[in-house]
């Protein structure tokens, strides 16, 4: 395959990915059955002798821990919050997809599969996505049985809505708090297993290293965030369910503690990192209000069903929006995409907002905002109806901005929301390190270059309740593996790496706070590896990140001590890893000389400025191996047998 010239200084290319372990079948619909049949089983009496470590208690981690605990394995779980119930999954608002076809509106497993592959701009793996669609129906049953209070209709049956621009109503929801209710269901199942002694839970513990012995993942090194104590935990297999890395941008809709440390440490021990540059930028977030801003708040996508998005036609028009007459407004989405209007997919809506702001037509502080206007909706449906539908979102907006959205249009701007990239996994969700499995947002998963709304919750729970518990047994059947001793050189080395890093952070005693480095990294990532990327910009970003990394290790200021609760030290570790990840993201973005999904390369667009894919050259997963002299690229070719590749069009 051709490699464009001039990029050799950034990476080398290794052997292609040989095998994803997807079974060979006549039709894709038989694949998951075949895998479950062929995977070796572990008899219940032997499960007691096998141990699994799970890092993370979000949807992907809590569901796996509860299920594997119930199945009889010894499970040890970790999370950095003070309770497993606080994992970031709790913040998801909109809903969860499932191909139940309860509406009788033509939905099916195939349609969910098709929508997901197309939505991902043909950069996801057919086999995994098909299984996701198949599993989706079981998830809803499981959650209802746990007492998850989904929205219901007057007849007592479950309600559905359409979400994220698809034409069927397959999204199940629990008001604007679907993630919370699903996570509480999984959390309660987990707590039941903790009470039963099947799962040992360690809250306020941060995993800082993977232990790899004889090429297999055998444990983790963690720091007790309350006391600072470092400890090693060993097991027969390790599962990372540690969430996404959107906080590499500093500002994002992710929780403050979301980080890449667990997966990055695994990457440095040999796990491939796939498609790191695929990030999702959500179009409807509350804009930045000042330099002190610590996070961005998502306003549910459902607002685009009734709100109209516009900016003034004139540059730098700072009139009160209510005084701008109709013919001096540009409803740009309706103008450019008459067929989909305000409901175009997330990546397209985000980029369009950026474009009008780049033209100096943005509104609000710094000109970084567009209006989302409900005046027409209020006139059409009446204020009471708008209030019933969106009241809680309007309240949230009012609380944060101090403005009343019933009277003046909301201001919104895109923000980093989700990361499609993550550790590379095969069909069994096993990484390139044997015995290391990765679930949920932490893996590179099923969403290709762009994720559809309501699909992350589905994937997290599919992975944790149904996929992993039916594949990890194939690996564990060969166990219990030789017992690893705490004094094994590989164990000691992992522990020493952690201790040395902490000692280093505390000894630098520089002049710049961790946050100031994080903010600067975030600016670089947003400017050059955000909604639009170019070769020139990415090269600039890579050299700036390298400098920043050097400065960080010479001049960072970490207060306090190691053997105590020390939030400055916690953040230093996370930012150190973000600095390394940021560089790999830029290299990945630089090498992918096409536009696809959330990855828009300025050099690769159609005459109308739309994303232009190059399937002949780039229809592959970029799986990066960590190498001492730079990253090594392994390509996994994507073959489409069940969906025809097309250029997406929403005009």
């Amino acid at each position: 395959m051709t490699q464009s010239s001039g990029l050799d200084e950034f990476f080398t290319e290794g052997a292609p990915v040989a095998d994803t372990k997807a079974p060979v079948v006549d039709h894709i619909s038989e694949m998951w059955d075949k895998r479950r049949f062929e995977a070796k089983l572990v008899n219940p009496a032997n499960r007691r002798k096998l141990s699994v470590i799970i890092v993370g208690t979000g949807l992907a981690g809590a569901s796996a821990a509860a299920t594997l605990g119930e199945a009889g394995y010894h499970v040890t779980s970790f999370c950095y919050q003070d309770s497993p119930r606080r994992a970031h999954s709790i913040a998801a608002q909109g809903g969860i997809n499932a191909a139940k076809n309860y509406r009788n509106d033509g939905d099916s497993i195939y349609r969910l599969f098709y929508d997901t592959v197309k939505g991902g701009d043909y950069r996801s793996r057919e086999s995994n996505v098909y299984r996701l669609a198949q599993t989706s129906v079981e998830i809803i049953d499981q959650c209802v049985a746990q007492g998850v209070p989904f929205a219901r209709e007057y007849g007592g049956l479950l309600d559905n809505r359409s979400f994220g621009g698809v034409q069927v109503s397959r999204t199940f929801y629990a008001r604007g708090q679907t993630g919370q209710q699903l996570l509480i269901g999984a959390y309660q199942a987990l707590e039941r297993q903790i009470a039963a002694g099947a799962v040992k839970m360690h809250t306020r513990h941060e995993m800082l290293e993977v232990v790899v012995v004889d090429g297999k993942a055998r444990g983790v090194v963690v720091r007790d965030l309350k006391t600072g104590e470092i400890s090693t935990h060993l097991a027969d297999a390790v599962v990372l369910a540690s969430g996404g890395y959107g906080n590499v941008f500093y500002l994002s809709t992710n929780a403050m503690g979301c980080n890449v440390t667990a997966t990055w440490r695994a990457h440095k021990k040999g796990a491939y990192f796939a498609n790191p540059c695929y990030t999702q930028i959500h179009p409807t977030c509350i804009p930045v209000s000042g330099d002190y801003q610590s996070k961005l708040t998502l306003m549910s996508e459902s607002l685009r069903n009734d709100g109209r998005i516009w900016v003034p036609k004139a540059h730098e028009d700072d009139r009160d929006p209510r005084e701008i007459p109709e013919d001096e407004r540009d409803y740009y989405l309706e103008r450019i995409y008459p067929a989909f209007g305000n409901l175009v997919p997330r990546d397209i809506a985000s980029r369009a907002a950026k474009n009008v702001c780049d033209e100096r037509r943005g509104v609000g502080p710094g000109g970084l905002g567009v209006y989302l206007d409900f005046a027409d909706a209020i006139e059409r449906m009446g204020r009471a109806t708008v209030e019933a539908k969106y009241g809680n979102l309007f309240d949230m907006y009012a609380r944060i901005t101090g403005e009343n959205p019933y009277e003046t249009p909301m201001r919104i701007y895109p923000a980093v929301h989700y990361t499609m990239g993550g550790l590379w996994v095969d069909y069994d969700l096993q990484s390139s390190i044997p015995g290391l499995f990765v679930t949920g947002e932490a893996n590179f998963s099923d969403h290709g270059a762009n994720r559809l709304g309501a699909s992350a919750l589905m994937q997290g729970l599919a992975d944790g309740y149904f996929v992993l518990p039916n594949t990890i047994n194939d690996y564990l059947a060969a166990g219990p593996f030789t017992k690893v001793d705490e004094s094994d050189p590989a164990v000691l080395e992992a522990r020493q790496q952690v201790e040395e890093r902490i000692a280093k952070f505390l000894s630098i005693k520089g002049t710049r706070t961790v946050d100031s480095f994080h903010k600067e990294l975030g600016h670089v990532m947003w400017d050059y590896c955000g909604m639009e990327r170019s070769e020139e910009g990415l090269r600039k970003a890579i050299s700036r990140i390298r400098e920043l990394k050097k400065e960080f290790w010479e001049d960072v200021l970490v207060t306090g001590e190691g053997m105590e609760l020390n939030q400055s030290l916690e953040r230093a570790g996370r930012v150190a890893d973000f600095l390394e990840l940021g560089e790999l993201m830029c290299i990945d973005a630089l090498h992918r000389q096409e536009s696809c999904g959330g990855h828009f390369r300025a050099e690769s667009q159609t005459e109308e400025g739309e994303a232009l894919r190059h399937d002949d050259e780039f229809a592959y997963v970029a799986a990066w191996e960590h190498g001492d002299s730079g990253p090594v690229l392994h390509k996994e070719d994507l073959v489409y047998n069940y969906v025809e590749l097309k250029q997406r069009s929403y005009k």
């Binding site: 606080r86 309860y102 049953d141 209709e153 008001r175 309660q188 809250t203 306090g560």
Partner: protein
């Protein structure tokens, strides 16, 4: 605006803490309360002092991590979480006291951070439906009247923040416990374990050292999710019924 802060500083559980004064001169009213503390922490760090430790994560009012007592009120003057409180709720020149949740069952870990693991143990004592993965019938097998589903949802919105305990003169966690009893008790899926659930959870509540409920109502007033007091009446009714049926 200018803000005078008096913040509880306590290095660890073994050492006594005290209130320490700080002044911030340049606070914007659009800042959230926690962003105001971030600004304080950046300036403390630069001058070589230890920043104030506090719990937070989502900063969207949903994870339940944050929570401090502000001028004597759990989560401060508005009915919301600490992270969703904004500085426009205060005036230029105000003095603001910031303290951790005060309860024997929530020991202070450091500064404003407390240990709320007792809540997890109350859930372990029965706050679930036993539904092993894979055993579930079709989701539509049991319709649930919308009214019940909506009320169950109202109770299920509890974020486990602990403000109810901090606000209660008795240090009771009955509102938190009752929210879960109500959520699961209203749904058909929660019926088989209804008696053992309420007995187990109330026993654990007491074993953790939380106080008894005397229906004062401070908990509801402080609750950012507006969990109503009548959930506690419901818990009491369930408990009496369960005891009468001789469960537990």
């Amino acid at each position: 605006m200018k803000i005078n802060l008096r913040v509880w500083r306590q290095k660890n559980p073994e050492i006594d803490g005290k209130m320490v004064d700080y002044q911030l001169d340049d606070v914007s009213e659009d800042m959230s309360f926690l962003e105001m503390l971030d600004v304080l922490n950046e300036s403390l760090s630069v001058s070589g002092e230890e920043p104030v430790a506090f719990d937070h994560d989502c900063r969207e009012g949903i994870c339940g991590s944050c929570g401090v007592v502000i001028n004597g009120i759990a989560h401060g003057p508005e009915v919301t979480t600490t992270c969703q409180l904004h500085m426009r709720s205060f005036a230029d020149g105000d003095t603001i006291d910031v303290e951790p949740w005060r309860s024997g069952s929530f020991p202070v870990v450091k500064d404003l951070v407390v240990d709320r693991s007792s809540f997890d143990r109350i859930i372990q004592a029965g706050g679930y439906v036993s539904a092993p993965t894979g055993t579930a019938p079709d989701a539509h097998a049991t319709p649930v009247p919308k009214k019940d589903a909506d009320h169950a949802f109202d109770a299920a919105t509890c974020i486990g923040c602990g403000a109810c305990v901090a606000a209660c003169p008795n240090g009771s966690a009955m509102l938190f416990t009752a929210a879960k009893i109500t959520h699961l008790g209203l749904l058909p899926q929660g019926q088989p374990e209804r008696d053992s659930r309420v007995i187990g959870m109330v026993d654990q509540h007491d074993a953790e050292g939380f106080g008894g409920c005397t229906q004062i109502g401070e908990c509801t007033a402080a609750c950012p999710k507006g969990i109503p007091l009548h959930t506690i009446s419901r818990l009491n009714k369930d408990l009496l019924g369960a005891l009468a049926r001789g469960e537990g």
